[in-house]
Amino acid sequence: MREVFAFLPYVVRTALRARTRSLLTLLGASMAMALFAFVRTVDDGVQALDERSQQPVLVVFQDSRFCPLTSELPLRYERDIAAVPGVAAVLPTLVFINSCRSNLDLVTLHGVAQDDLENLYDLELLAGSVAAWKTASDGALVGERLAQRRKLEVGARVRLGEVDVLVSGIVRSTFAGVANLAFVHLDQLGLARKRQGAATEFLVKVAPGADPEQVAQRIDDHFRTDEARTDTKSMQAFVAAAIGEITQVVEFARWLGYLAVLVIVLVLANTVHISAESRAGEMAVLETVGMTKGKLMALIASEGIGLGLCGGLIGTGIVVGLLTAWPVTLGVEGYGIDLVPGPDTVLHSLLAALAIGVVASLIPAFSVARRPLHRAVKEE
């Protein structure tokens, strides 16, 4: 390994010797790697939402309903659900979202009873106060991502989802979706949306030791002949169903990412090939003075790997920079898929760049190794 690093200055000098060629390759690889990193970010965002939904909580929704805008359950169901064995806490929630379709400007309002909120959610207050929210009838506790996207601060009066609210606090939670929603008072939202006495869903905390599936079954059985039938699922299954709606789009984006990778492989392979061809004589001299074929191949490959890695760094950097400056959240059925390139995304992109560099260098490196010394020397 030390020997390989000893040749690093030589590799850098070689790349700098053909500055324009190296720069063009770098820029091409950067653009394609930016595409790849973006697709990875979408993929990781979906996975992160799925992981955050793994909570011991059930969601009671109206049966056969797709979007929160279409589910309507009587508020009186709360008492009956609380009485079901195995239920530790119930939170009636009236949900309003600005669109059931995919969008990049998701706003979700959760109208909840102020005293029950903390029974269900594990909230970390980042700014403001929960007490201020409880006392202000138009108060809102805003998720940190929504606050970041809309540049909201505590004390601001804003219009969210067609409702005027006062930002009383900014919160963080490990729960799926909380980052992109604002908690408002149930009565206020019911009045604003003309849905008093109704809830979109009930969140149910399962008592320790109780079987969530049995509890869900009991709830659905209880309301089977009532005014509105219920469909109770675990939070994870509920979020997974929402994510399922964009699975095909994500899969399509993934294929585009692979195409971008193919573009980089071909551009890099071309560059390394040109570089190896133009230095055939030089390589022969190195071989003559004792360098082994393996080391010659490593020399050729290191240029491709270096350019690939640099392209990966620049491309991933572009995506990280842009998505940090302009936060993007993809909304799906009221849940937000945050496009945040985290350490995993960066690591995956750089590993991909490394692999691309290796693959792109293979053919040129082998072609150098296979060239007979006498013919290569003649080219010097």
Binding site: R65, F66, C67, A241, L262, I274
Partner: protein, 379 residues
């Protein structure tokens, strides 16, 4: 000017390099076609079917969103019967009372539209292509993309099959097409059946087809005056444009990705041409010494670059054509990615732009090298 055969021979002289560049440009072209088809599919399906003579009457709290719109059935019937300026065909008013439902069965989400006979008058884009429209209780007809929307194979949506929706069995009696519209992902049934199955006592909207688009102001006046009905009039164009604008940012994102792919392709071309220029410094200088003008030499190099790009673009377009159309499901809809002629033309144009941009800089550089130095082989 340099001859075409000379440029072609030059490209064939370095086959591996040319093939790699063609491959890169082909992949870039496919990326551009795919992203463009995706962006087009998103926005065209939303706004492409808008008609100026069609007006929606929605519940006042709905803004311009059909999913949020709720109107009591009685009010809807009154509005459908009393709205002015509505077209009449064979004694039937083109005023369709509709209920739109997104229903979930397991992992499948279907979009059901409950319609009356007038529904076929107000939505002329819909054509029955197999079987017939629903006439008897609990019959449905399915759109061409309903299978994609629900993740079901075509065989399960064949005429004569039964589909369970909202805890009821519906018989499929027809299939319909409505190209480039949101209808394609829907399932249509009779309004009373959908209301019964979903236990709904209200409807989503009333769709009116006017005798002439100018009658819109009369309808708006009617909606504004009849406060008891709690309705608002919105043109189909306005409604679908709102939908398209919500999907617009996603389409824009796709187009940005396509632009990045074009830039990457341009760099690939430029790279190849730079290598070609460097390897042929002496040859190009000889051409200049023989009397070819710098412009002719530069133009020849740009032509070479464009030829490679054209070959790559053609390969990419052919591959996209061979792969064919792809259907994708997205929340509350489905779209068909069609690598049609315009999409392929855009892909090919993007490839040519890549070739042109990638060829200009190396060409200019080649002719700016002093002739004496170039003949000496110093680039």
């Amino acid at each position: 000017m340099l001859s075409f055969s000379y440029q072609l021979r030059n490209l064939l002289r370095r086959r591996a390099r040319t093939a790699a560049t063609i491959g890169g440009i082909a992949a870039t072209t496919m990326l551009v076609i795919a992203m463009n088809a995706f962006a087009d599919g998103m926005t065209t399906a939303a706004a492409g079917s808008a008609r100026d003579d069609t007006v929606f009457l929605l519940g006042v709290s709905a803004e311009v969103d059909l999913v949020r719109s709720v109107i009591p059935r009685g009010s809807a019937e009154v509005a459908a019967a009393a709205a002015p300026g509505v077209l009449t065909v064979d004694g039937l008013r083109a005023a369709s009372v509709e209920l739109h439902i997104a229903t979930r069965t397991g992992d499948q989400v279907g979009l059901i539209r409950g319609v009356t006979e007038a529904g076929y008058l107000v939505h002329p884009q819909v054509t029955v292509v197999d079987g017939r429209e629903p006439r008897a209780p609990f019959e449905i007809m399915v759109g061409s993309l309903a299978g994609t929307r629900m993740g079901l194979p075509p065989a399960e949506l064949a005429v004569g099959r039964t589909m369970r929706l909202e805890h009821r069995d519906f018989t499929i009696v027809g299939r319909f097409a409505a190209p480039a519209t949101t209808f394609e992902a829907e399932i249509w049934a009779r309004l009373p059946d959908v209301m019964l199955a979903t236990k709904r006592e209200d409807v989503s909207c009333i769709v009116l087809r006017l005798e002439r688009p100018e009658n819109l102001s009369e309808v708006q006046l009617f909606a504004g005056r009849r406060l008891d009905l709690e309705i608002t009039a919105v043109t189909e164009r306005e409604l679908l444009q709102t939908l398209a604008s919500s999907l617009g940012p996603i389409a824009a994102l796709a187009r940005w990705m396509a632009a990045m792919a074009v830039i990457a392709g341009a760099f690939a071309c430029a790279n190849t041409m730079f290598a070609a220029v460097l390897a042929r410094t002496r040859e190009l200088a000889t051409l200049r010494a023989l009397g070819y003008s710098p412009f002719a030499v530069a133009a020849g190099l740009v032509q070479e670059s464009v030829m490679v790009a054209f070959a790559g673009g053609a390969v990419g377009s052919l591959l996209a054509f061979a792969i064919g159309s792809v259907s994708l499901r997205y929340p509350m809809g489905a779209l068909q990615l069609e690598p049609d002629l315009p999409s392929r033309a855009i892909g090919l144009s993007a490839a040519l732009v890549s070739g042109l941009l990638g060829g200009i800089v190396p060409a200019v550089r080649a002719v700016r090298i002093p002739l004496v130095e170039a003949i000496g082989g110093r680039a």
